[in-house]
Structure formats: C-alpha cells, structure tokens
C-alpha cells in the first residue's frame, strides 16, 4: 500500500513540473507621481528679436509652464533642473539615457524653438528613459505672442501620450471676479488661462453678474446679469464684447447653459414665482418649455450627446437631482441620500454627473453615475458649490466661501480644483476673489 501512495505522490509532483510557467498577479502598484524631466527648450541661434517677447528666455519659460502643468495634475513629478545632466540642444538630439536615469527620471521632454520672420516654430520630443527610445515628436508653427498656448498644447500632447487621456491645459476658465465688502460685492465677468495667466475682465462691475458659461466653441458666454435691475440671461461675444439679452421673457431668467451643439440656451424662467426650465434656439428664437411643474426646476445641464438633461428640482419637497429626456419627458429622480443635492453637471465624457450636496450643515462636492448610483463625495467644506468639468472629464473646478465675522470680515471666495479620484485638491490662482467658475473645452480643437 505504501508503494501505491508513493507512486501517487511522485506522479502528482511530476504533473506539476510539466506546467512550469509561474504566473504572478500584480494588482497593486504605487500612486507616486511619475518622475519626469522637462529640459528647457533650446533656442535656435538663428532666432531674431520679437517685440514684447524675451526670445532668449522663451525656452526656459515654455518648459516652466509645462512643468507647472504637470505638477498641478498630481500625476507627474517634474525633477529639479539643477540635476540635469545634458544641455538642451544636445539632449534634444541624442539624450544619454543612462545619465538621465541616474537622476531617477522615467520620462524626458526635450525641444527646440526658432523665432524668425514673425513666426515661432517649436519642436518637442518625449522620451521613455527606461525603454531608451522616443515616444512622441511634434512640431508647431504660430505667432510668437501665442507662446503660452504652445506650452499648454505640448503639455496636452505629453499628458495624452503618458496617460491615454486627453489633456486639459490649453483651456480657459470663465468666472465671476469679486471684490468689496460681503454685503456690497462688486462682481465682474473674468476670463483667464487655466493656469491663472492672461486675466481679462469682460464686464465693468456696474451691475451684478452671475454664473457665466462658455459655448462649445469658447467664443460666446451666457450668464445672468442684473442690468437695469432686471435679472435676465445674456449672451456675450468674447472677441467683440457685444452683449445681448436672450429672448424676450416677461420675468427673471437665470441658470443658463448652452446645448452641446451650441445652438440653444437652456435656462430657468420664473413666472409668478414658479421656476421652470425652457430652451431658446439662438437662430430661430423659438422658445420651448421643458418642465411644467409647481416646484422649482433649475440648474439644467445637457448630456454630451444632447439626448438628456439633468436638473435640480424640489418637487419631492427638498432639492434633489433629476434626469429627463431633452424634450422634457421621462423625468426620473436619481438622488435619494440624506441631505439636499444641487448644481448637477453632466461630464463631457457622459459617464458621470457632478453635484453639490449639503448635509448637516456641511457642503460636499461629489460625482455619481448618471443613474444616481456610485455616489462618491470628494471634498467637504463650510461652503463650496457649483462644480464644472475639465474637458477630459477628470478634474472639477468649483468655488468656496469662508465663514464671515459679525461685520462680514474674514469673508473670501476662491476657486479650487480636484481630481475625480478625490486626490489633488488645490487652489487656483486668481487676481481677485472668485466664484462661479466654468471650464472651457480645449481651445485647439
């Protein structure tokens, strides 16, 4: 009997050794940002002068913008320049990979630029240092005044190559620039690059302006203005500065947004105290009523395919989030948690809805799937609301207000952003206090 058992054992063991390939499952890694070296761009000696631009420093300035963009994502760790081993011009031609790897970099960005005959030509390369080969190479030609946008476009290309996602650096943010005491705020429409540069004001601050939003081509803005003490939705052309009221409504219109094709404006109209959702076609001027309910219906937001609308309604007694078809049919409530929900915004990827939640006196910014499931609260604060999506659907920008003392002292409003993973919460730089931010789509599209 023992012999039988022995044979069995040997048979079994030999069976194992036949299949010798070991498989190991790797299901975890680290969340450390990718160490990347951004070499200053080499300025071609043939470059001439250009008015208003320090051509010699352009190489450094462009790489500085790229570095800052990467650092702000929380996904990349740009390494300090002091450690760089090769000069920009040589690195761009033939980087010595082993040397760059010594400073623990895993990716390298190199490039060169030429300013000549009123044109700026930029070329960059992205290298994979562990594989020792080039990953991407691209060249751009534009006017020298656009050098910041070139830096942002390069950042987008690299970001996309390394994460698979579209970037969001070549974008602008429109917001309400605030100043003055809390009970007498002066508000103007402000617009800036997403990194805080190139701030411009689009209105003068003589009347209250609120909730501005871009159209899909980023050339128009729709917002609420109290011009002549009549709160109405307006349209503003960013280039010309021309403003016009939207439609001819006998009462307050507010909470405006564009449809994904840019042809309509969707908003709330308050009639005899009751707010319902309407759309107006900008070309035909045809007004269509979308909701017809005795409750407050507001904050409408289209899905990116234009087929659905998510909005805020208190028809159940308290503010909750609903989804309906774009013709107003099929209204479905999607939030059921404790607390109130507001400001629903549909992600440009179509997969999530961002919102504000208030529960037990605390304000939350969160995301959920479009059927209301998978609710995730990303951040909590004394007061924060109104998230807006980056064009790649990965980052939210929103605003916060601080507690004020008995005379309103200590009050401030600031813009913040956070990843949808809940990581990387950071404050945006604005020249003044700011609120009601809205993110543009990629400018280069």
């Amino acid at each position: 009997m023992k012999k039988i058992f022995l044979t069995l054992t040997i048979y079994f063991i030999s069976l194992n050794s036949l299949f010798a390939l070991i498989e190991v499952d790797i299901t975890r890694g680290n969340l450390d940002p990718l160490p990347i070296a951004v070499s200053p761009l080499h300025v071609d000696v043939k470059s001439g002068e250009h008015e208003g631009i320090k051509v010699k420093e352009l190489g450094n300035n462009i790489s500085a913008i790229i570095e800052k963009n990467f650092k702000n994502t929380g996904l990349f760790n740009p390494l300090k320049k002091e450690a760089f081993v090769q000069k920009p011009d040589i690195a761009h031609l033939k980087p010595r990979f082993e040397d760059w790897r010594l400073i623990k970099a895993q990716a390298l960005v190199t490039g060169k630029l030429l300013v000549k005959d009123g044109k700026l030509k930029v070329e960059f390369r992205l290298w994979d240092l562990t594989a020792a080969k080039e990953m991407t190479a691209l060249a751009f030609t534009t006017t020298p005044a656009n050098w910041r946008r070139v830096a942002h476009i390069i950042s987008d290309k690299i970001y996309e190559r390394l994460t698979g996602e579209e970037g969001y650096f070549d974008t602008r943010i429109i917001y309400v620039a605030e100043s003055g005491p809390k009970d007498q705020r002066v508000k103007k429409l402000g617009i800036m690059d997403q990194d805080g540069a190139n701030t411009k004001y689009l209105t003068l601050g003589n009347e209250l302006v609120l909730t501005p939003r871009f159209n899909p081509t980023n050339q128009m803005v729709t917002y609420l203005s109290y011009f002549r003490n009549m709160p109405r939705v307006y349209l503003l052309d960013i280039e010309t500065g021309m403003q016009e009221v939207v439609g001819n409504f006998p009462g307050m219109t507010f909470a405006p947004r564009f449809s994904p094709d840019g042809k309509k404006i969707i908003m709330s109209f308050a009639e005899d105290g009751n707010s319902d959702i309407y759309t107006m076609d900008l070309e035909t001027r045809v007004v269509e009523r979308i909701t017809n309910h005795s409750s407050i219906d507001t904050s409408p937001s289209f899905s990116p395919d234009g087929k659905y609308i998510t909005f805020n309604s208190d028809r159940s007694g308290l503010q909750q989030i609903y989804v309906m078809r774009s013709d107003g049919s099929g209204v479905k409530r999607i939030t059921f948690g404790t607390g109130i929900y507001g400001t629903p915004v549909w992600s440009p990827r179509g997969d999530l809805i961002a919102f504000t939640k208030v529960r037990k006196g605390r304000f939350y910014i969160g995301v959920m799937r479009t059927d209301g499931s998978g609710e995730r609260l990303l951040t909590e604060n004394f007061y924060q609301e109104a998230p807006s999506w980056s064009p790649n659907g990965r980052v939210l920008v929103f605003y916060r207000e601080t507690k004020a003392g008995a005379k309103g002292e200590g009050f401030s409003a600031t813009l913040w952003s956070i990843d949808i993973t809940g990581y990387n919460e950071r404050k945006l730089t604005t020249k003044t206090d700011a609120s009601d931010p809205s993110w543009s789509s990629l400018l280069s599209k």
Binding site: L15, F19, R376
Partner: protein, 268 residues
C-alpha cells in the same frame, strides 16, 4: 483474479481523479493578496530576505484611506402626498440590496490581516502529511472556483503547490513589482485592462527577454488606455531590474508571467 482487478480499477480511477483535480491548479484565478501578506511571511519563512515592510505599510495605509473615501448613502425617500400620479416608480429596493452587499464585503477585506498568522501555524502540520493536504486542497479548489470573493487563507496554500515558488518567494516578487509600478491613474476602471507580460530571466535577476501578450491590441484604435497600461507595466519591470530572485531553483523561475491588473487600484 477479481481482487487484483478491483485493486487495478481503484488504482486507475484514483489516478484519473487526481489528474483531473490537479489540472485546474494550472489555470489559476487572478488572486488578490494585500501587501501585508509579505510582511508576515518574511518573519516566518527563512528562505528569502526582503526588507519591504515600510513600503507595504505605505500601501496598506493608502488602501485604508481609499476605503474610507467611499461614501454611499442610499435611503428610500419618505412618501410625499404632493407626488403626481404620472411619476415613474423608482427602484428603491435595488438600491437597498446593493448597500447591504457592499457592507458585507468591507469587513472581509480587513479581516485577512488577522487570519494570516494562524494559517501559517497550520502550514507546518500540513507539510508532514502531504497526502492529506492533496485531498484537502482538492475540496478547497472547487469552493474557490464557485466563490468570486477571494478568501485569502485557502488561496495561499494553493499557490505554494501550483507555482513551485514558496509563498515567500512569490510574494517577495510581487512586493518588488508593487514598488516599481506607477499605476497610470487616468485609466477608466470599467474596461477590461489586463496586461500580461512574459519574462525570461537570467540567473542574476536581470531580464533577458520581455514580451507583451496581446501585443497587437496596443496599436488598435481606441485601445490607447491598454497601450498606456502596457507601457507602464514594461517600465515597472525594467525599473525593477535586477529582480531579487531566489539563489537556487533557476529552472523554476526562469520563465515568469506577470499579470498586471489595475482594476482594484482604480476602483478606489
């Protein structure tokens, strides 16, 4: 005559049974073992010497933090008299069930830490009676197949026999790659993203050859996430060279396949 016939039949059927039951060992399910496993194992087994405790701790803390982030409160609304009759009825029950299931899973993820040490005391006893182990494992294997939720204890014991590496060696390898792999956070977590890399190693742990299975998928349109994930996996593997490998048994581990699956990290 009949006696030996019966013996022969029994012997043959047992052989066949064992073969059939052994084969499933080869096709393993992807198992998830939290990093803490390697910490416990290092203390008990004296074969390899991997100082990875600090990194494992960091990963554990980050996992715990991620678990705290998930907040879902789904309570059905109180009925309101104001409701209009044409409103679409809402699936309240479905949401409640989801919540209950979720609650059950959470405690299980944390418990394995405690169970680990007791499982290892058991292992010593198992070694002295291999036949009993074979039969026990056969039963366990079927249970695992039916049960999608990973039970740490059973799968550990199963690994040791199937891979030919001891548990400490395999988990040491896993811990090393954990440290080197920067997971691209931008990946969508509801897509099938599994990158399998076959490695041929030299005796000193450096890589002789690496090959991505499903290589063609990388260049297909719409698969750029797969490409990004594959590249990150390759980077991890190259960065980790030379891999810390056992001093003996080269034949066992010279061919390794690493299955990179970021699903768990992205869900957090």
């Amino acid at each position: 005559m009949t006696k030996s016939l019966i013996y022969s039949l029994i012997f043959h059927s047992v052989m066949i049974l064992l073969t059939v039951l052994t084969l499933p060992f080869m096709i393993r399910q992807p198992i998830d073992l939290p990093p803490i496993v390697s910490v416990e194992l290092i203390q008990i087994s004296d074969k390899t010497n991997i100082p990875f405790a600090p990194k494992a701790r960091k990963i554990i803390e980050e996992t715990k933090k991620k678990e705290e982030r998930v907040v879902s409160e789904q309570a059905p609304p109180a009925a309101k008299a104001k409701e209009k009759p044409d409103r679409i009825p809402l699936p309240d029950e479905k949401k409640e069930k989801k919540q209950i299931v979720k609650k059950k899973q959470n405690p299980e993820e944390i418990e394995p830490q405690i169970r680990q040490s007791s499982e290892f005391e058991k292992k010593e006893i198992v070694d002295t009676n291999q036949i009993a182990a074979l039969i026990d494992k056969a039963k366990e294997e079927e249970a695992i197949k039916k049960n999608k939720i990973d039970k740490l204890t059973q799968s550990n014991v199963k690994n040791s026999f199937a891979t030919g590496l001891t548990l400490s060696e395999e988990d040491a390898l896993r811990a090393q790659i954990f440290g080197c792999w920067s997971v691209p956070l931008g990946l969508p977590y509801d897509e099938d993203l599994l990158v399998r890399i076959k490695l041929k190693l030299k005796k000193d742990g450096t890589i002789m050859k690496s090959e991505i299975l499903d290589h063609q998928r990388m260049n297909r349109p719409g698969q750029k996430f797969y490409k990004v994930l594959a590249e990150s996996a390759l980077r991890a593997v190259r960065l980790c060279q030379p891999l810390k490998v056992p001093p003996t048994g080269y034949e066992k581990w010279k061919d390794i396949q690493l299955n990179f699956n970021p699903e768990e990290m992205l869900k957090g």
